[in-house]
């Protein structure tokens, strides 16, 4: 006979305000098998847990039901408490009467009634719970970092520092990411390259770090501690091991009219190229879309000039397969496309640029060697208008609903740098709100206003019209002085919203991690587990999780590394014991389960059985590898005979819940 203890939590007033917890405890005390039913202020507190532990011992409980917050919050807490009192942790069930009851309902009577029903379902389920023991599964002591921007580099360095091997997969020919394109950084105004490139070099020289540049993740299989990843090393038509990065090929290449993506297409590069001087690895890459040798077999100049014979026109994509214990996603962001914002004339006028383009225009390694000139006529601009929130904070149909977070600060930086370098320039910043929370951030913005006389105007630009005299008409409203402004500007800079990199979505599918509607990766808990995904062994670093500036990105990169190190330190991890198992006596051996298993956890064995008529027969039956099974339950439904069942969520348990709810 079952001896079940029910514990109803008040959660302060979180539950008790809308659910009559005493009535719930009283009602559940009459359920079959329930020997004790109590309520308490905070079940998750130490004294609350002790209450449970003591009751387990005193009443020799065979099952525990906690009516409290979501099992996603405290299931583990109570399982541990039960285990320490000698009860198998999987004999604990949680009835979610907070998130799914008290917080969504207002009327005490109906909320209490629902809480009782939810409690009843948990009691019905716990009747059928069986003690489960976790298996151990070994951890591969190697990490994969996807993305070689500042986030990925920081994470890789920190993991390597702890003594674990780590691979960086970067889709571009060099690591460095967006930060490599940035000129100066706020709020200190130090040079981005000066602080980034030492880290890039450190990463390339660290014996624990392997950089797979110009590579992409092709397939991810496995589970925490034991991922198998296929990486596509794209053909760069240059032997990485031979190339010295001398750059002779890039000089001699006759095809020089290739838009230079590193400079945002503001100037050109050659078909064989090294993205920028400090690229890591410093290896040339041939762009097959432009190389005349690859396109029509005529040229071969680079191959002739290369003294080490590194050019290989026959190179093909290569797929390598590696095993990892942990994976860190650091796929970063991109500015959104501005084609649909006609009112800002971005597509019509070359002097309307995005902020990232402005970074390149102002950078010493940029198209103008660091002198700020209009892209159209290479003249010095005297009036520059900055427009904030372009595509950020919009209705769904108009752009991104979120604040891109970094624009206020980099715009202040741009405005300040321009006023510093070219004091004869008038700079206007049209803002909706100026958001500068962060250490020394507001001071920085105030300096732009007070020290550099940047004109901050509250109001959005409504219309940008290129004029025949080369000026750009900017029409905006000044909401504070309540007038409409018409400014003849020389340049307009748009603070485009940022969005997750396009490769993130297919990657999330491969990694089986969740994303939000904006394609940012969802963290396991918005406050308490910010660098972990809900999928064990997958960690999040940098702007792939949400808009972030550099200091935050680095902090999160290190945090993700710490989490990954915590995993890699272990020799083995405890597997979820809620896995499928097959009842051999019922199994038909039909292979339905095997076909729907996403992990290949099911195999078939020929086994001898004694039949009812005392004969023996050899039958083909399914066998589940519990270390590989992740417990989704797809097989349980595919199985026609009901031989396949899932620990912790068995057919009979779920049906008991259904019955209890429908009673």
């Amino acid at each position: 006979m079952q001896r079940i203890g029910v514990f109803v939590c008040h959660c302060g007033t979180n539950i008790a305000a809308t659910v009559d917890v005493k009535a719930v405890a009283e009602a559940l005390s009459h359920e079959p098998g329930v020997v004790i039913s109590q309520d308490y202020q905070y079940m998750c507190s130490e004294s609350g847990q002790n209450l449970v532990k003591d009751a387990i011992k005193e009443h020799k409980l065979s099952g525990v039901v906690i009516c409290s917050c979501s099992p996603r919050m405290h299931e583990n807490t109570f399982r541990k408490a039960a285990a320490s009192a000698g009860l198998n942790p999987y004999l604990v069930e949680i009835a979610n009467i907070r998130e799914q009851c008290s917080w969504i309902h207002k009327e005490i009577a109906t909320a209490t009634e629902k809480a009782i029903i939810l409690g009843r379902a948990a009691v019905a389920k716990v009747h059928l719970n069986t003690p489960l023991t976790s298996m151990e599964s070994p951890v591969v002591k190697r990490a994969l970092v996807i993305g070689g921007g500042i986030a990925g580099i920081q994470t890789a360095l920190d993991i390597a520092e702890a003594g674990f091997d780590v691979d960086i997969v970067e889709k571009k020919p060099t690591i460095g990411g967006k930060m490599a394109q940035i000129d100066k950084t706020f709020p200190t105004l130090d040079c981005a390259a000066c602080i980034l490139t030492p880290k890039m070099v450190e990463a390339s020289q660290n014996e624990h770090i392997t950089i797979h540049s110009f590579s992409e993740v092709e397939e991810v299989k496995g589970f925490v501690g034991n991922f198998t990843v296929k990486i596509r090393k794209k053909a760069r038509y240059v032997d990485e091991t031979k190339c010295t990065g001398c750059g002779l090929c890039t000089e001699k290449c006759p095809m020089k009219k290739v838009p230079n993506e590193f400079n945002m297409g503001l100037d050109n590069r050659s078909a064989v190229y090294i993205p920028f001087a400090q690229a890591v690895p410093k290896v040339a890459t041939i762009d097959p879309n432009y190389c005349m040798m690859l396109k029509n077999g005529k040229c071969g100049v680079c191959s002739k000039v290369c003294s080490v014979g590194a050019i290989d026109y026959k190179q093909e994509d290569r797929i390598i397969e590696e095993k990892y214990g942990a994976i860190v996603v650091a796929t970063g962001f991109d500015p959104i496309k501005l084609d649909k914002y006609d009112e800002f004339a971005y597509s019509q006028c070359p002097d309307v640029v995005t902020s990232l383009e402005l970074e390149r225009l102002m950078n010493a390694a940029g198209p103008n060697g660091g002198t700020l000139l209009r892209p159209s006529d290479k003249t010095h601009p005297h009036t520059i208008v900055f427009v904030q929130c372009v595509g950020s904070r919009c209705d769904d149909s108009k752009g991104k609903p979120y604040c891109s977070k970094i624009c206020c600060m980099y715009t202040a930086k741009h405005a300040m740098l321009i006023r510093e370098k070219y004091p004869d320039t008038e700079v206007y910043v049209f803002y909706i709100d100026v958001r500068t929370p962060g250490k020394n951030f507001d001071e920085f913005y105030r300096r732009a206003v007070e020290q550099y006389n940047v004109h901050y105007i509250k109001g959005m630009v409504g219309k940008v019209t290129p004029k025949s005299d080369g000026k750009i008409g900017v029409q905006a409203s000044d909401l504070l002085s309540n007038e409409q402004l018409h400014i003849d500007a020389d340049m307009v800079v748009l603070a485009a919203a940022i969005e997750p990199d396009k490769t993130a979505r297919p990657l999330a599918t491969m990694l089986t991690t969740q994303m939000d509607t904006n394609d940012f990766f969802t963290e396991a808990h918005p406050k308490l587990r910010p660098v972990e995904s809900a999928t064990a062994g997958i960690f999040l670093s940098g702007a792939c999780q949400g808009p972030k500036d550099i200091p935050e990105t680095v902090a999160q990169g290190s945090a993700a590394a710490a989490k990954a190190i915590g995993l890699l330190c272990k020799n083995s991890i405890t597997c979820n014991p809620c896995v499928a198992h097959s009842d051999e006596l019922k199994c038909n051996g039909c292979s339905s389960c095997e076909k729907v298993c996403p992990y290949g956890a099911i195999t078939y064995i020929e086994k001898e059985f004694r039949m009812p008529d005392r004969t023996t027969a050899i039958r083909r039956v399914a066998s589940v590898n519990p270390a590989v099974c992740q417990g989704c339950g797809a097989c349980t439904v595919a199985c026609p005979s009901g031989a396949m069942d899932l620990n912790g969520f068995s057919n009979s348990q779920i049906m008991a819940e259904v019955d209890a709810i429908c009673k």
């Binding site: 076909k595 026609p640 005979s641 009901g642």
Partner: protein
């Protein structure tokens, strides 16, 4: 035909290539023919029969027989070969242990339809140029052959043998059948009409389990309806369970696996058109996930253990047809 079959079966038994023969055995009357296993030439001579009433699908017997010592010879009509393929695919039958002789298919006759003409005391039935000559205790009667055809044969989907080791007679083609007409007719009724139709039909069920027992897709080691642990165990005839659950669960269990052999409806003593449930699934699968015929081969993935990222959403059910 019958003689040729017996002759060949004897040969194979004699040279030891097979140990047993599965076919049809004559019963007390001309029309109550049952599937049977024959182990000797004498048994074959005595009881083996192949005629207008040998409609039973014998493939299911291979689940047990193919596991026994020695090869088993089986005579399969085209429709029966689909069932064998499906059973082979699901590892229920050891195909290597089976020797299949493909024999021509129907149409076979429905004794009930002959009786429905008021003909009783039937001794034998012969088909002469599409006219049935029925010898009865009270003299000879005739009726058009087409009036007595079994429903499942009337909407035959294929005369092609999808698996065999040798053939007696000619192989046929996959037919353009009208088997989904009735399903479509029901789909075009209102929900209330459909509900009334099925309530009338399913309430006749006496839960004899004949449909399950004859079904070549129902070969589970332990049927969920017999398994107390399954939660749907139910042996006694209880009205509302039959109407609402038993037949839905059974149809779903064989969804994507049913070869549409029509045996369920043929054996139903209450004449419930159970095959319509299976055909509804087949029709849905064909229209939603692409043409699929269970048993057509032994390698393709069944529709319910397969998917594409572009599959329609379940709400399609709400958007189409008649409410």
């Amino acid at each position: 035909m019958q003689e040729a079959m017996i002759k060949r079966a004897k040969e194979l038994l004699a040279d030891g290539s097979v140990k047993r023969v599965i076919g049809w055995k004559r019963g007390e009357f001309a029309y109550d023919i049952t599937p049977a296993v024959f182990e000797s030439a004498e048994e074959l001579d005595k009881d083996f029969v192949f005629d207008v009433f040998t409609s039973a699908n014998v493939s299911k017997y291979l689940v047990k027989e193919s596991k026994k010592e020695g090869k088993v010879l089986v005579f399969l009509k085209p429709c029966d070969t689909y069932s064998l393929n499906q059973l082979t695919k699901e590892h229920r039958v050891d195909r290597d242990n089976v020797y299949v002789i493909g024999i021509p298919g129907g149409p076979k006759l429905d004794i009930e339809k002959i009786r429905a003409k008021g003909i009783t005391g039937i001794l034998s039935v012969r088909n002469e140029n599409f006219t049935l000559k029925i010898e009865t205790l009270y003299g000879e009667e005739t009726m058009p052959f087409s009036d007595a055809i079994l429903d499942k044969c009337a909407s035959c989907k294929s005369k092609k043998h999808v698996t065999y080791d040798e053939l007696i007679g000619e192989d046929g083609d996959i037919l353009d059948s009208d088997r989904f007409d009735m399903v479509e007719k029901l789909e075009n009724m209102t929900a209330q009409e459909r509900y009334d139709f099925w309530r009338e039909q399913l309430s006749k069920c006496i839960r004899c389990n004949a449909c399950r027992n004859v079904c070549p897709a129902c070969t589970c080691e332990k049927c969920v309806f017999d398994d107390p642990a399954s939660g749907v165990e139910n042996k006694a005839a209880a009205d509302s369970f039959e109407e609402k659950m038993f037949h839905i669960i059974r149809a779903f269990h064989v969804a994507g696996r049913c070869t549409d052999c029509g045996e369920c409806s043929r054996v139903c003593p209450q004449n419930i058109p159970l095959h319509l449930l299976n055909r509804k699934f087949i029709k849905d699968i064909n229209s939603l996930y692409g043409e699929y015929q269970a048993g057509a081969d032994t390698t393709s993935r069944a529709p319910l253990t397969d998917y594409t990222a572009e599959d329609c959403e379940s709400s399609i059910v709400h958007e189409r047809g008649v409410e």
